[in-house]
């Protein structure tokens, strides 16, 4: 079946999320929709799936206009969706999740799960999915959960599958399997709409690529187009995808963690037996699939975690047992994973956010008095230095875009006299322009002799910045490899496979 969108427009207040969008997916085609976060891809797909109502426009399936008012209409029209945040109920079994909304009952009026089980097994076999119908969703790895969503769409006989950022939560290996499965599905005659912002995956699997920028389709290209070409269409100006950096010149050891265990309140290890050093003038990246203890490890370093054993030393001084304030003052800059929740106070002004952790010190305060004029003056300098695009330093932080929020956090943290920079997912959800800025800035911090510890789940980012790569899996660092290691090798470690081919610097 083919799917065509004509003139789809959707506005949220003053924001035009989709502006007169036209595009067509042919039967048996993988059509990628490429765009940055906030370009309007998810809005568009939620309209197609009936979760949002468009202000204007038509949706045509096989040339016939259809009205989609709810997901039921979409499913009836043969459109299935695999959501970015899985629409599966964690405490239900696979079979229960699949029948939900389309329940069949037996003569006693009770749920007929037996038929669903049979169908799950049948579809699983057809595509080699290996899914147990009676497993609880919360016990399954994300890759399998995603297959459950695909199976659901297939059981409902969807001919058009929408995959919304399906690789965001997967390991590189799981991603490869997914891409292979997408090709299988296409070859079985189904159409696939593949929404993503990852250029490499698009090139690997798509038949055609439509690029969306600020709610508009700005071009449709073939997968033979270069990554640079696609990226500049996404951003609207030429971009340089490579981070320019010279080889690092590691100096003395700044951060040293020995046999560090991070425990939760019940004594369970969230991160265990961590041995890692970071030297001055070096970027060490901690890679891994989300949820393997990276966040907890980062929090431990800055004193946000209580139950720790082992040792964390910053230039020889023990950090365990110190408060967050003491850790930061000891010489750590910390860029947390969530700018909105942990990095900024959204209702505070940009100026106030820039001095959150130094407001009690000179030159912003004297005795018990706060000196707003001085704070304002410094804020203006920072805004200039870090290229923060804001109307005024007195605007609330919530008025900024994601990239500018992150620049505020960086400006605050990097302007203090620190030896170690701990950054977590520094470019998540940022536009390409801001990503470039953040990456260059982190490299220049390294070159100025600071130690940089980067936590990132994006392999591209890890390889672009790191001098050494530590891979975390289930709370442990299972390997430390040089930046020259191959993607495949790092990918295998991320999946927990300890290969014999590990070389150089493995812990």
């Amino acid at each position: 079946m083919s799917l065509e969108l004509r003139g789809i427009t959707k506005q949220f207040g003053s924001l035009v999320a989709n502006d007169d969008i036209n595009f067509k997916v042919e039967a048996g085609e993988i059509h990628a929709i490429l765009g940055e976060n906030g370009a309007g891809k998810s809005t568009l797909m939620n309209i197609v799936y009936g979760l949002l109502a468009p202000d204007k426009g038509q949706i045509l399936v096989d040339g016939q206009e259809i009205k989609i008012k709810s997901p039921l209409d979409a499913l009836a029209a043969g459109i299935g969706m695999v959501h970015q945040h899985f629409m599966l109920i964690p405490v239900f079994t696979v079979a229960e999740n699949i029948v939900l909304g389309h329940e069949k009952t037996n003569r006693a009026g009770l749920l007929d799960l037996a038929t669903a089980r049979e169908e799950i097994i049948r579809v699983s076999k057809e595509f080699n999915f290996e899914v147990d119908p009676d497993a609880l969703i919360e016990d399954l790895p994300v890759g399998i959960q995603q297959r459950v969503e695909i199976i659901r769409a297939l059981i409902y006989n969807s001919k058009i599958l929408i995959l919304d950022e399906p690789t965001a939560v997967l390991t590189p290996q799981e991603t490869d399997e997914l891409l292979a499965n997408m090709k299988k599905l296409r070859d079985s005659g189904r159409s696939i709409v593949f929404i993503t912002h990852k250029l490499r995956e698009v090139k690997a699997v798509a038949d055609r690529i439509s690029i969306i920028r600020r709610g508009k389709v700005v071009g449709t290209v073939q997968p033979s187009a270069s990554q640079e070409e696609m990226a500049s269409l996404m951003v609207g100006r030429p971009v340089d995808l490579t981070v320019n950096k010279a080889d690092g010149k590691p100096g003395k050891t700044i951060l040293e963690m020995v046999d560090l265990n991070v425990l939760d309140t019940t004594g369970r290890a969230l991160a265990s037996k961590i041995n890692l050093t970071v030297s001055a003038g070096e970027v060490v990246a901690v890679a891994g699939v989300q949820g393997n203890g990276q966040s907890e490890l980062a929090e431990a370093i800055v004193g946000l975690r209580e139950h720790l054993t082992g040792s964390i030393k910053l230039s020889g001084n023990e950090l365990i047992g110190r408060s967050v304030d003491e850790c930061l003052k000891a010489g750590i800059a910390y860029v947390p994973e969530s700018r909105e929740l942990d990095g900024l106070i959204s209702s505070f002004s940009i100026t106030e956010n820039l001095i959150l952790d130094t407001h009690g010190e000179a030159p912003y305060s004297k005795g018990i008095f706060y000196k707003p004029a001085m704070a304002h003056q410094v804020a203006l300098e920072r805004i200039k230095e870090f290229d923060i695009r804001a109307q005024s330093a007195n605007d609330p932080a919530s008025s900024l875009s994601g990239g500018n929020k992150q620049k505020v956090v960086l400006a605050r943290e990097l302007s203090r006299p620190v030896e170690l920079v701990v950054v977590c997912q520094p470019t998540r959800g940022l536009d390409v322009g801001s990503i470039e800025f953040v990456h260059q800035r982190l490299i220049s911090e390294r070159d100025s002799g600071r130690a940089v510890l980067l936590f990132s789940t994006e392999l591209d980012e890890v390889f672009a910045l790191a001098d050494r790569i530590a891979i975390m899996y289930r709370g442990e660092i299972i390997a430390i490899v040089p930046a020259t290691a191959s993607r495949e090798e790092v990918g295998l470690y991320m999946a927990g496979i300890r290969t014999a081919t590990a070389k150089g610097g493995a812990a």
């Binding site: 949002l52 945040h85 239900f92 999740n97 919360e138």
Partner: protein, 422 residues
């Protein structure tokens, strides 16, 4: 790994439970059997009315009884440990232990006294009835994702309406018939403000309770007192003996010689337990209470499901309310539910949001209450105010996670707005 850790947590929880059983058994031997300086005969009476007589009375020395029953609980603790090690379910051993401990306690507490054993059980069940109805009402609401603090108000409001209608028409059955509508009406308030206007559900529940208490108290003062013959003298529902079954010793009078409200309760418990986990209704209810956006994505109208279930919950509470007037005393009196709605909420949490769990918790609370009144007549070593505290202390321990993490439905209390998460 996730799977493994949850498994080991689960078994850790079970092990904690078995350890506490062991401690309780030792406590039982020392305090109930060894320490008491005097002992006396305890007389248990088993016959209440017209059931077949198996044994009329049983007389036992309190110390001998306490030792004997403590030994029983030790035995069952050991069995529990054995079953746990074998990886089998040990629910039956917990049950056996509880009986042993309870009987040892009873021997100690009523040394030299007369204990109407069957009456104790029957009374306990009756006291638990409004609690069970209340907690099932809470369950249907909260499993759908709406917090129901207003159980108290639903019980009280329907008690009032049932009493007044029963009195006006001089027929208890009409009172019973209108009670669920009264409960449902109060639920409409809850549903409209919680679901449509997305008011904070805890505050809303309290406001509804205050409203119902105010309205019924006012009406009781204004009308029921002035012409109580017309307004407030409802006949009551009579017990119905189920043929043959009611003649069974002990369980006959307890279960099968009750009013229609209690028979209806059996049906509602069984239906909710099965329907919650095995029917379309239950599946959808749990889905909107856990992850409404997922339910929406497969075409379920989340707020419609919630609305409907909140109203069903009110109707269930309505039967519980009817119990207070047409089910027991006939007349309505101000604030006669006396916090039962909140205790029902505690039973719901204690029972981990499952019908059978809530039932067990409500029964424990009911028996504890009945035991208190029986013992206060017999005269015991423990002050009755202390006995009254026990169920709530148990709830606090349960909620604080000692016997395992109590997991509420994930979306409980969070209003759902279509497209709100995007």
């Amino acid at each position: 790994m996730k799977n493994k850790t949850t498994m080991s947590r689960e078994s850790k929880r079970k092990l904690n439970g078995i350890y506490s059983m062991a401690i309780a058994s030792i406590f039982s031997i020392v305090v109930f059997a060894y320490l008491p300086k005097v002992s006396g005969d305890v007389t248990y009476s088993f016959v209440l009315d017209k059931e077949w007589v198996l044994i009329q009375q049983w007389v036992i020395d309190s110390r001998v009884g306490a030792y004997g029953f403590s030994a029983l609980s030790v035995l069952f603790t050991a069995l529990a440990y054995y079953l746990f090690r074998k990886g089998k379910k040990h629910g039956i051993a917990i049950f056996g232990f509880s009986i042993g401990f309870f009987m040892a306690f009873l021997c100690w507490a009523s040394a030299g006294d007369f204990v109407p054993f069957t009456g104790l059980l029957q009374g306990g069940l009756i006291l638990a009835v409004p609690l069970i109805y209340g907690s099932l009402a809470g369950l249907v609401c909260e499993r759908s994702g709406v917090i129901n603090i207003a159980i108290e108000g639903q019980l009280l409001g329907s008690a009032f309406v049932a009493g007044v209608v029963g009195s006006l028409l001089q027929n208890a059955w009409y009172g019973l018939l209108v009670a669920p509508f009264a409960g449902a009406l109060i639920s409409v308030l809850l549903a409209v403000f919680a679901i449509k206007y997305r008011i904070d559900q805890v505050i809303l529940g309290f406001v509804i309770n205050v409203l119902v208490i105010g309205l019924t108290s006012f009406a009781a003062q204004r009308f029921l007192r002035e012409d109580s013959e017309k307004w407030n003298e409802s006949p009551i529902l009579q017990p119905i003996n189920i043929p043959i079954l009611y003649k069974l010793p002990i369980i006959g009078p307890m279960f099968f010689s009750q009013t229609i409200i209690i028979y209806l309760l059996y049906v509602i418990i069984i239906v909710t337990q099965i329907a919650l986990f095995k029917s379309k209704w239950g599946l959808r209810m749990r889905s909107v209470g856990e992850l409404p956006v997922a339910a929406e994505s497969v075409g379920i109208d989340v707020n419609k499901v919630r609305f409907r279930n909140v109203i069903i919950a009110g109707a269930i509470a309505g039967f519980g309310g009817a119990y207070f007037t047409v089910g027991s005393v006939g007349a309505f009196s101000r604030e006669m539910t006396a916090g039962m709605g909140f205790i029902a909420l505690a039973a719901l949490i204690f029972g981990r949001w499952t019908p059978l769990g809530a039932l067990s918790a409500a029964l424990v609370f009911g028996f504890a209450d009945q035991l208190r009144s029986v013992l206060s007549i017999a005269g015991t070593p423990i002050p009755s105010a202390f006995m009254m505290m026990v169920p709530y202390i148990a709830t606090i321990i349960a909620v604080s996670g000692f016997v395992g993490r109590v997991r509420a439905p994930a979306a409980d209390g969070i209003p759902y707005q279509r497209g709100g998460s995007h």
